[in-house]
């Protein structure tokens, strides 16, 4: 299904977003951070990140910032995903498979309830 991509398409996307006030709340009050150091990548962090992006696209969520970060020294917990909502303290999850990422996006990011099953014990 080849589609021609142009910068005009992007300008349209931006205009639409402006109309819907998607930009109003930017920079996103929700931040999702995935650890992408060597151990994270080896443990499947790219697929975890991809699931987060797929979820955002699928549910059409305009105000989520996604970042990746290097090794944070919790190798045995990789892939690691962190959720930061507003001014709340960040919540760190470990062993986040794509399915786990989806659950975290649904329950925590959308529903506001952290998913205890994947929390890294302090």
């Amino acid at each position: 299904m080849p589609t021609v991509k142009s910068l005009e398409d992007l300008k349209k996307i931006r205009e639409e977003a402006l109309k819907k006030r998607d930009i109003k709340n930017a920079p996103g009050s929700v931040q999702v951070i995935v650890g992408m150091g060597t151990p994270g990548i080896a443990a499947g962090a790219r697929e975890t990140l991809r699931e987060v992006l797929a979820f955002i696209e699928e549910k059409n969520l305009p105000n989520i910032t996604v970042r990746q970060t290097g090794n944070i020294g919790l190798d045995s917990w990789e892939p690691i995903l962190q959720v930061k909502i507003g001014e709340d303290a960040p919540v760190t999850y470990g062993k986040v498979s794509p399915a786990a990422a989806r659950q975290i996006m649904e329950q925590h990011v959308l529903g506001g309830k952290p998913v205890s099953a994947y929390l890294i014990p302090a």
């Binding site: 991509k5 955002i56 910032t65 990746q68």
Partner: protein, 182 residues
């Protein structure tokens, strides 16, 4: 890591950690010359010769003041097993170029893997970096420069769902390697 695309993510983390503002990833499958070339070029802070050497061979010195991962040595080993190699050229204050090459048809060569997934992850999740990607396979050539894209979006983040869709489709069309023959 069983994909070149995953090793790319790993290499690029070093560039980002080195404070790179612009990172270029170039991939060329030259079937006529039976060669696969991959390179990552950054304008980060670079390394002196000794550090560059240690990055490639972490056991070269017992000095442990800097953290050195095993990603690059593993990739070098994988390339050398496939009639290729890996080189790190770095200039302190100017940047680093990591080049890897393989015999394209070598039976043990790992696949390029999910390049679109790697490109999408990098562009969206490291938006502060200026990304340049190129992927060539024979006559097929794909080139990506995110500067005009960011300009057209005028501050709308790349993680906006419509922008994500745009980028995902762009990379899926342009940077999907052919299915391996073996």
């Amino acid at each position: 890591m069983k994909e070149i695309a995953l090793h790319l993510l790993d290499l690029v983390e070093n560039s980002v950690a080195a404070g790179a503002q612009t990172v270029a990833i170039d991939i060329c499958e030259d079937l006529a010359a039976d060669r696969l070339d991959v390179s990552v070029r950054d304008d980060g802070r670079g390394m002196d010769a000794e550090t560059a050497r240690r990055v490639v061979d972490p056991f070269f010195t017992s000095r442990t003041t800097r953290k050195v991962g095993l990603g690059i040595p593993l990739l070098k080993g994988a390339a050398e097993m496939c009639g290729g190699g890996l080189q790190v050229q770095s200039t302190p204050g100017a940047g680093t170029l990591v080049s890897v090459w393989f015999q394209h048809s070598h039976i043990d060569r790992m696949p390029l893997g999910n390049l679109p997934g790697t490109f999408l992850a990098l562009s969206v999740a490291h938006p502060q970096v200026h990304w340049l990607f190129s992927y060539r396979r024979g006559e097929h050539f794909f080139e990506y420069d995110d500067a005009p894209i960011k300009e057209a979006l005028e501050g709308l983040p790349l993680s906006h769902p419509q922008a994500l869709k745009y980028l995902r489709e762009l990379f899926e069309e342009g940077a999907r390697p052919d299915t391996p023959k073996h």
